[in-house]
Symmetry: C2
Subunit: 108 residues, 2 copies
Amino acid sequence: MTTEKIDGVSVTTQASVYFDGKCVSHGITFPDGTKKSVGVILPATLTFSTGAPETMECVAGACEYRLASSDVWVKSGPGETFSVPGNAKFDIRVAAGAEAYHYICHFG
Amino acid sequence: MTTEKIDGVSVTTQASVYFDGKCVSHGITFPDGTKKSVGVILPATLTFSTGAPETMECVAGACEYRLASSDVWVKSGPGETFSVPGNAKFDIRVAAGAEAYHYICHFG
């Protein structure tokens, strides 16, 4: 099961554009103040840095990720999640020609 | 004044990715069923086709647009809107090196 929509939220209209647009996300805020983002990563290999811990939930497409603590690339597809500690780096790659990786980023 | 956020909506988690990612948008649905999208256009010159009429509202960055009925490129910046008839083509360009054009697309 993938999360196809998120109800009852406030959407930040200005996107966050990272890596020359290889990653684009929009922030959402829940009524209780919880913040998440919905985004997409285009074919590329990118290194991200977390502030708060993050859980990445795939809603379409797929990526491979590699945590800073590992040499192993792990695939993450629709309905799958992976978690990254706070103040850590991690790599995401989407193969050239593949569908983009669509995700929800959960913080904390 | 720009529209910085949109409250009380349902967000479609999977983005729409057009033109190899030069345009990325997320759909939003209001409680009354009205649909809009929030998106971003990276530096490029792109031709879009409407189904329903659209009004494009800039929330950050800027673009130039050219309607099919015109030879003139017109700038649209934060807080400005322009409208496109239904079943029409229009061009948008964002200059190389410029900030992306962030928009809300209103349908109908």
